[in-house]
């Protein structure tokens, strides 16, 4: 089978580190400099997923980095259309971004009810374990489409590859 293409979207509030996660994942780089994404930026990464039953498969991920959302400026729904999955990103140092995760996930599921969601609690390097544990308790898992909650750090690279791999694998194996 040839290479499959899949569309992923990054959603989350302003400044939670969506672009940084992509840069870490795609370009293996990190920069402290804050770049505000305007509109959409699309990145591409091909990865090989292995499954014990189904063998291996090359998947080409087209990752849409959508500009951060606020309470007053919702994400444009058409950007999310056709996405097989999203990474819902929150900033562990800003609790309100964690609280907004549920809204982002709901928005996505309203557009694509079969899509998968991976939750990334980013900037995990900036917070101690005690606080982290408390914040995780805030999270409810509102849907079975949420495949998991990961603590990520674009700076250290913690769980960045893992979250993309898990999400991609889940998308590939869905419905089978």
């Amino acid at each position: 089978m040839g290479i499959l293409s899949k569309k992923l979207c990054m959603v989350g509030d302003f400044g939670v580190g969506k672009t940084s996660l992509i840069r870490r994942f795609v370009e293996r780089q990190f920069s402290d400099r804050y770049l505000s994404t305007v509109g959409v930026k699309i990145s591409r990464k091909t990865m090989t997923i292995a499954d014990s039953e189904r063998g291996t498969q090359d998947l080409k991920l087209l990752i849409w980095d959508i500009e951060g959302q606020t309470k007053f400026k919702a994400i444009a729904p058409s950007y999310l259309q056709g996405a097989s999955g999203i990474l819902a990103v929150a900033d562990l140092t800003r609790q309100e971004t964690v609280e907004h995760l549920a809204d982002h996930i709901r928005n996505f599921l309203a557009i694509n009810q079969h899509g998968f969601i991976a939750v990334a609690l980013n900037k995990a390097d900036l917070i101690d374990r005690e606080e982290l544990a408390q914040i995780r308790n805030l999270l409810e898992q509102p849907s079975e489409q949420v495949i998991g909650v990961y603590q990520t750090s674009a700076k250290t690279g913690e769980s960045v590859d893992t979250i993309f791999e898990h999400l991609t694998k889940r998308i590939w194996t869905k419905g089978n």
């Binding site: 040839g2 290479i3 293409s5 899949k6 569309k7 699309i42 444009a76 058409s78």
Partner: protein
Amino acid sequence: MPFSSKDPPPRHSLTEALSQTSARESSPQDTDQLEGLFSLLCDLDLEMVESAVEPTPSQAAPKPTSPPQAVPEPRPPSTAANGTAATAANSNATPIVGFDLEQDFWHSAPFFANGEGTLPDSLDAIELVSWPNHPPAAPNPPAPMPRTTEVARPPVGSSHSSHDTADDAIAVTATHGDVDEEALERLRDLLSELLLGESSYQVGEWEGRFQQLEQQLHDPQVLSDRLLPLFASLLERKVAQAPEEVIRALAPIIDRAIARKSQTDKLAMSQALAAALPGAIAQQIDTAPEEVIQALAPIIDQAITCKSQTDKTAMSLALAAALPGALSKQIGDAPEEVIQAIAPIMGRALHEQVRLERDAMVDALYPVIGNTISKYMGEVVRQINQRVEETFSIRGIYRKLNARLRGISEAELILSEALPFTVQAVFLIHKTSGLVIVEIQREDGQALEADMLAGMLTAIRSFASECTVNPEKTSELTEIDYDDFKIVMEVAGYCYIAAVTQGDPPAGFATQLRQTLSAIILNYGYGELIAEFDGDPDSIPQAVVDLIENLLRSPEVMLPPQRHTTENHETWRSRSGVIASWAVLLGLLMLPFVLYSWQQARRQQLADRVTTALDANPNLTVYQLDATVKGREVRLQGQLPNEILSQQAATTATAALPAHLNVVNEIQMVNPPPDPGAIQAEVARLTQTFNQMQGIQVGSRYDHETNRVIVEGSIHQGQDARTITQAFEQIPGVDVVVLMLATAQTPIQRRIYFDTNSNFIDPYDLESKLMPIRSFLNQYPDLQLQIIGHTDRSGSEQRNLELAPQRAAAVRQALVAQGIAADRLKVTGSTQPPPNVRLEDPLWLSRIVRFEQIAPAGAN
């Protein structure tokens, strides 16, 4: 009447008796039993005969009202000689058998003598009941002998009761009636004898009593009152002891019973069953759903139909909630079926909807249809315009002719108007996700990043549609221009084609895009192949790829798009015929114009040739001269300042033209308003020229207000001044030349320049400056020169003090080398700037050697 049949019977006794009876397994049909009865009756007969002999003692019985006391009285019937005898008999009977019925039966005994008419019935009855009542004799062993007669009698009464309540029993006993005929006969005879013989006077009394009893027996109310409780307990016991039997007994008739009951009293039956039914049904559904289903299946449709007919609203309400879910489920599970089901009526449904609510339909379709129509119309209009322009416009024909006349190919002309059109790449892109479904790129070009391009295009399209002013209208982005590239997009429901093109797309290209997309959607869009595209390129049929690939070759394929199909061939041919005849007609009409144009072009060509020749003449360059060709004459027009130039112009023109053409010089002599810029330039040019001549060094400036040229500087020879004056006076617009020339500069006034920190004399200076000095010194042999070296301010003072005289010495040495006597030359140096050089002037002006004349010693 102390003994009323209505008196409550001693129930316990009866119950006992009956239960014992039922406990016996004997059957009424049993002949042995009947035989037994028979013999019993025979015995009875005997006894009665005996007892009939001794009735007298019983006559003394004073109180019939006290049954217990009467027990010993053996013969109640016999004692009943008077009115109270009957009661006495009754009182006797009561204690013996133990229930009132028995008494009644007992009293009814005289009835046998009453008449033949009723007797057989009674007899039958007696036999029937005699067997069940027989046993009570056994449980009462202490009963004295006379009681046996009584035992025999109860059947009479029983027969009456059974006559009313049990038909079957009557029938059975009737068969045996004949058998017992003889015995009965005897019994009857005996009784009659007894009654008639001894107490005939009591017959009337007996009769009345008997009738009363009969009435009571026939009164169902009385009977049932007495029997009902017994039945209840009887049944109860029977059920408890042998339920199977009861069931078996009831089974054959219970259905009929229910049926009968249902017929006669539906309401009661319904009430009885109502409570149990729901539970029963629920239970059954639970235990055997299949059966319930099978039972209901055949009629359930009918039930629904019936319900729908009778109460449409309720039915609709009941189904309403489930319908949307059911539909969407079905659409999800088997879309094909739904489509098949709906397709045939879709057209009619639309038709009906248009009829009912035209406005709503228009509103719904407007965004789509409006777009489509406007797009289509726009294209049609463009095509028509283009055709009209190309076929009929004068400009189009003129362009062709002009191209031919000028010797340039028409293609070149068109090329200059429009760039050639090529398709670099074509992509079929999923509309929502932006994933590339099919990608075709030109092999020779630079490959485009299809994924990224498709993604960004999709994002831009999303952005554009988000930002549209009127969100209710679906507007689509159709073109993106950058430089001479263009991305043309044709958008369908779930996908769109993006073609990256270069140059101006021909009208046919948009049509081809649309046709390709239509073909893909009609043939492959069905079945959600495209709508549900999930990024797997292998799921796309090769045919789709081929269709897209055709677009890449479109510019070559498309040239006359109509010729591809044979269908269009005829129309094309007829159309081209029409166009050809139009072209011929137009050609004839345009012939004079064409000739005229040709002539004009030819004349223009000649005129251009003359103009070019005039421009080439340096004297005439600055003047604007026109040449026009008329017939065989070439007219020169314009203005020149003098006759000489005019002559020159005529000569130049004649030389440039073919011999058969005459030049008519119409150039006017004028003093044209001087062009200060041109004069200034000419003055500068002349000045430069003069400065290149030997011995002349001049500067000049032009004063345009007074039309004067002021020349300053020095010349070597006197005649140079005249040459300069004449030259400047020849410039048109210059009226006066003012010469401010110094008297001839002597060679020793010149200065030799040096490089930094150097005393090397430039060979050019050696030639141009020192040679004249040598001549000058030779011309004046007495003359002596002071040679003074200077330095600039840079460098150390010490070095400069050395360098300045070194430079002077170098010059003296050079002059000595040329044969000048060394003693005529004195050398000195100075670190100060030379005269006329200021401190702020450039340094190089100070790096010199200059000369001063020393008066001959003898002269002074």
